[in-house]
């Protein structure tokens, strides 16, 4: 799905600038201290955690 294909670039940029205000820079700074491999390992751990939450959610609330 393309986002508003006729949207002028300036507006697109404005949306992104607005969203940048909400980015948690503390998380970014912590991540930048890690090696690339450590970042990917953290991503896999996050995937595993998300999958476990989905499983628990299905068990508790149904499919």
């Amino acid at each position: 799905m393309r986002l508003l294909p006729e949207l002028p670039k300036a507006d697109f940029d404005r949306y992104i600038e607005e969203m940048k205000k909400d980015v948690d820079r503390t998380l970014i700074r912590e991540n930048l201290k890690l090696t690339v491999e450590e970042r990917l390992v953290a991503l896999m751990a996050l995937q595993e955690f998300a999958e476990e939450l989905r499983r628990a959610g299905r068990a508790a609330f149904g499919p």
């Binding site: 986002l3 992104i16 940048k20 980015v23 990917l40 953290a42 595993e48």
Partner: protein, 163 residues
């Protein structure tokens, strides 16, 4: 869970030419965002298609979201006939892209990569500038936050380099 080491090592074992892009590349650059698949741009040169097929064959690639029962044969002819493939494999979801909006084909994008060493594999990863451009070119609603985050990473990196 996507077995990133498994996928990267499988591709490297057969000397497949590919570039990591998408969410995994964003992670490599420092994004804390969750992604569930590995996106790569692969070289469509015939000499690369054969090892690509061999590398993934043991992991039984099938098309994601294809109707059940739709025949799918993982071979060189399939790769040559198509371009971009969203695959399920026994190692996780893998998007194989022959061409990507804003980046073109492997031979175009390879100029904008960095070599990263992960899980014992040296592989090409799209650089941060090009990754931002690819996300912008895709123009997807879900990418807006990701673009904002990548631009913040660039700012934070620049600050660190200035210190």
């Amino acid at each position: 869970m996507t077995d990133f080491p498994g996928l990267l090592q499988a591709l490297q074992r057969e000397h497949v030419s590919f570039i990591v892009i998408g969410g995994a590349a964003a992670t490599a650059h420092g994004s804390p965002r969750l992604t569930l698949d590995l996106d790569v741009v692969y070289d469509r040169h015939p000499e690369n298609v054969e090892p690509l097929v061999s590398a993934l064959r043991p992991f039984k690639p099938t098309l994601r979201d294809a109707p059940e029962g739709l025949p799918f044969v993982w071979d060189e002819r399939t790769i040559r006939s198509g371009l971009n493939f969203t695959l399920s494999t026994s190692l996780g979801a893998l998007d194989l892209l022959g061409e990507v909006a804003g980046g073109g084909r492997y031979e175009d994008l390879v100029k904008e990569t960095e070599t990263i060493r992960v899980f014992g594999v040296d592989c090409l990863c799209v650089n941060l500038e090009a990754l931002i451009r690819l996300k912008r070119a895709a123009g997807r609603r879900k990418d807006l936050e990701a673009i904002a985050e990548l631009e913040v990473i660039r700012e934070e990196r620049d600050k660190t380099e200035l210190r």
